[in-house]
Amino acid sequence: MKVTLRIQRYNPERDSEPYYQEFIVEAGDEKERILDLLHQVKWKFDGTLTFRRSCAHGVCGSDGIRINGRNRLACSTLLRDVNYRKPIVIEPLPSIPIIKDLIVDMSDFYRKYEAVKPYMVNNSPPPEHERYQSNDDAEKLFESAKCILCACCTTSCPSSWSDDNYIGPAALLKAYRFVFDTRDEAADERLDAVDTPDGIWRCHTIFNCVEACPKEINLTWHISQLKKRLTEREM
């Protein structure tokens, strides 16, 4: 079966602005991954097509792109998930700088991730065994710990679109991951880091992040827990 990919191209060494190019590729069945089709283009038709990818099954977070207007992972989106009877529109993640074709500049995204102190702080001397934690407390962290830092959420957020200083849902989720870890002692510092004019209060529960997350993380719920914790602390 023939499928048309309409891919946004941009080569900074050659183009003054992005443009679209169509490729007709051959798909075995509707279970083929969009990533496989991108590979087909790169390996068969045009080696200059540039995108990131690694694990190809949705655990490394390299290949967040925009498919028919939705932020998704190329490797976790199958043909049957999109309308493939019409050209499938493939673009880089929106609202962050494009470097080349589907590759975007993630440095700001990573900076915001680092701003929430994404590591456990516990300065009391560790016991000889593990620090005990109930399974319920552990499982409270699991959903947030699933995050693969693909940036699908943050780049889908209207608050991020209008203010690129906004810390964004991914960093807030990471803050949750540690603030709610019973073993952690730096919750206050992390809460301070998100309680800024460009921080958590720019989240207006729009839910775009939840819709975009390829790992099905309910980001808005996690952010709400942080807001609750902050109001408890401040008032």
Partner: protein
Amino acid sequence: MYKHTGSRGSGAPGWVLQRITGLLLVIVVIGHYFVMHADPASGHTYAAVLERMHHPLWKMFDLTFITVGLWHGLNGTWGIFRDYKMKPAVSLTIYGVIILSGIAFWVLGVNTILSF
């Protein structure tokens, strides 16, 4: 990280207050509706308004209404502006206009209510 116009403290009180005032406004608006609009005959005579405005409880009601309404509306407006990245001069101007108009409307409103 970045310079901002507006409060430097925690955003939590503002966030909570916006929700509390929102809730209050719903109640006050319902009251306002029943007094002013539910029965068109009752509220609209000069005498009826004059009588209500002299009553201390109604003064309290109106003072709450204007305070809560102004704060909620202007804080919300500022929140909308705040979602956009602006040059400091622009944001300072908008912030200033919002604060000043808030004070002006509040003084005008309070003055009107208390003059009865």
